[in-house]
Symmetry: C2
Subunit: 259 residues, 2 copies
């Protein structure tokens, strides 16, 4: 072993714990109370520094962001796009309503930029893990949702934690989807390493790990899509406490080569 | 708690263990032997099903994929792009040599499609964690690298494991970078859930978690860029054994809306 410009960090293990026993969430439910109850039922105690990861779907449900599809009337533009893509015109209507603009369409896929600034399929609207006949929209302000959850869970458990609200996004050029952060509180979504030296003395320039997205993906590995585990605890993450929110993950449009 | 169409999965915890004590890797080093030695030194035993995550940089080094920059002569095209972007023309020359095509350039960034088919900055070439004056190129065939590592480590440890070779990629529309899989062996990079029913009875359509990328990101959380921890063990991942390789993560160009 050789000396290095940076002291060897005492990196320690990380664990990702699924939280079972969350019941089906309905509009108006107190999600924080439900999570605290599930923690107690499962005998799991939160610790300071834990990151509580919560899927968007149960946040949206508790906030009443559900729409009965048979109440939606598709406009002319939505009907035209739906026909082109072979999709339900009512879903396309909602996706347009929830977006600033269409980024791409084709291959049966509509990619939009949501009012928050996230670029994803159908403005994040989908029908999975929702009562039949309904779709779930993204929370209006997922960072605020994360903050409310964090504050309520911290009060109930007397801990200092972070909360990340996640959704499942596709990516250009790569098959499959990963879970990413759409809201966060108590954690800075990226770590900025620019200007720091690596062990060879090289000064890093653009290195900025998207910690919140990596935590979201790690949590997905224990949640799954089929198993009613919409909450996980990620323990042992090194992160900076802060309130930039997941909106801090949205790339400045002026710097964006893929708009 | 209610009944559901799919039995509640007995999801269990996942852990991510950094492997300390890997020494600086040089061209020609036997990386598998080095990892096995580090496992022994640290008192860590691999278990069947573990995913061994290895950063690209040490794989490239062991395979001699290092180039002395002062031996590189930039051509006319590289010089022109370098001037436009404010970059080292020799790095741009190598990035062009390692690519099929330029996907985007601007904002001081060159995005290429590598010969493997990965879309990333500078064809994955970079100067961090490399001896001064050198750059590291991506492995020629990262899936083959992963397979050789898996087979050698399995032989030495008498286990059945998976290996993922990772690199740090930026993403369109989002700040920061995440680690993703550029090579894998012993693990299918995505799980295909299409046709399966969620707990509400809804048949999932496009759901295909990119497990290998989520594992890569989880491993990054314990590795860091500054700490000489280029290997981690991810334990408790549910995955399908297979040899599609990370080339299975490359989206078919005919389906790609962002080429």
């Amino acid at each position: 072993m050789q000396s290095s410009a940076v002291p060897r960090a005492s990196q320690s293990a990380l664990s990702v714990l699924p939280l079972a026993g969350i019941k089906r969430v309905k509009p108006g439910d107190d999600l924080a109370a439900e999570i605290v109850a599930a923690l107690r039922r499962s005998g799991t105690s939160l610790r300071d520094g834990d990151v509580l990861v919560v899927t968007q779907k149960i946040v949206s449900k508790s906030e009443g962001r559900l729409v009965r599809l048979d109440k939606v009337k598709a406009g002319v533009r939505a009907a035209s796009i739906a026909k082109e893509l072979g999709k339900d015109p009512r879903v396309i209507e909602l996706a347009l309503q929830e977006s600033r603009r269409v980024v791409r369409k084709g291959q049966g896929i509509l990619i939009t930029e949501t009012h928050h600034g996230f670029v994803c399929a159908n403005s994040g609207i989908d029908m999975s893990n929702v009562e039949k006949g309904y779709v779930a929209l993204l929370p209006v302000d997922p960072d605020a949702s994360a903050r409310r959850l964090r504050e309520a869970v911290e009060r109930a458990t007397r801990t200092h934690i972070a909360v990340i609200v996640t959704d499942t996004f596709g990516r250009p050029w790569r098959n499959g989807q990963t879970d990413v952060a759409i809201g966060c509180s108590g954690i800075e979504p990226t770590e900025n390493l620019s200007g720091k030296k690596d062990p060879y003395g090289y000064v890093l320039r653009v290195t900025q790990p998207a910690v919140a997205d990596e935590v979201a993906g790690a949590a997905e590995l224990v949640m799954g899509k089929l198993s009613m585990v919409p909450v996980a605890i990620v323990r042992g993450v090194k992160y900076t406490r802060g309130e930039s929110g997941a909106k801090g993950l949205i790339l400045d449009p002026r710097l964006d080569l893929f708009r």
